[in-house]
Symmetry: C2
Subunit: 175 residues, 2 copies
């Protein structure tokens, strides 16, 4: 196992700034593109990350610490952000993500103060028994998944433009 | 076709800064990890990007503009950076990438001043006839590919730690 809370926070605290540097000031062409109907553009991905901050990672952590395995934690709607009207501008969405992420890192540090707590268990509605360590690791990997998704969506915009280089560029063949 | 030089440069100029924000200050655990023997850690990926700046994208562009299809351009050794002693520190590597990328963007703007030039053709040693537009699009997608690679390598470090969440995190199943 590689999880370490200090190292995990290194990733969690970099994600908003990484997306800010990558996305701020890009033309609409980059920001609006997706992988086709029913898939997300960059802003929708950031809105999904915000939704996770509000209803998934820290709320579930708090639930496990309070309830243990006595009852399963509420399921997380991965499409909740699509039910709201999407924001017009990316800037405020990135700022909201940065703000709520910073608050949640502070909360994480308050809630988990020692390694013993990483082995505490809760009940996931689909998976059954899960550990705090697994939840926190998944939070980190979820960030990295969605950075990769944004980058992949943008790469595919030039999927035809690259001509024969397509063969060498594996990112164009992924979904 | 979606290629537009101004938009392409938006990505090319963001890549060094994106990697700087993502990687600077991370613990060795994140910087040293790879996907196993013969695969690259984050620093090796940045060294590969530097090699591309030196011997691939702009040199090939200049070659096409000078030679057309009269002779194939030299092949690019994708493993050249592994033959040199790898740097000890990531900071100077990121700085070198940022510097040479900025120079190459300036050079790109000097070499390609109008859309007509995008349709000029050269001879790729493996692909045969290729267009300037295809070369420049591949440069952009190549950046995005390697950002995705770095993020994937880091995600896999927690591949076991996430426990049952593994099923939901597609990035852990890619190579």
């Amino acid at each position: 196992m590689n999880f370490d809370q200090t190292e995990a926070i290194q990733i969690l605290e970099r994600t908003p700034q990484t997306l800010e540097v990558l996305l701020t000031g890009l033309s609409e062409g980059w920001l609006e593109c997706s992988e086709g109907e029913g898939t997300w553009n960059a802003r929708e991905v950031v809105e999904h990350l915000i939704e996770g901050e509000k209803t998934n990672w820290i709320p579930r952590l708090a639930f496990i610490l309070a309830e243990g395995e006595s009852k399963p934690f509420p399921s997380f709607d991965r499409y909740a952000h699509l039910k709201q009207k999407s924001a017009e501008e990316l800037g405020p969405v990135l700022l909201e993500f940065k703000t709520i992420r910073a608050q949640n890192i502070t909360r994480l540090r308050e809630l988990v103060e020692g390694k013993d707590q990483l082995e505490l268990t809760g009940s996931h509605p689909a998976f059954g028994t899960v550990k705090v360590r697994e939840l926190l690791s998944a939070w980190v990997v979820h960030d990295l998944t969605h950075i990769a998704q944004i980058v992949r969506v943008m790469a595919k915009r030039y999927g035809a433009d690259v001509g024969p280089w397509r063969e060498y560029l594996g990112i164009l063949h992924r979904s």
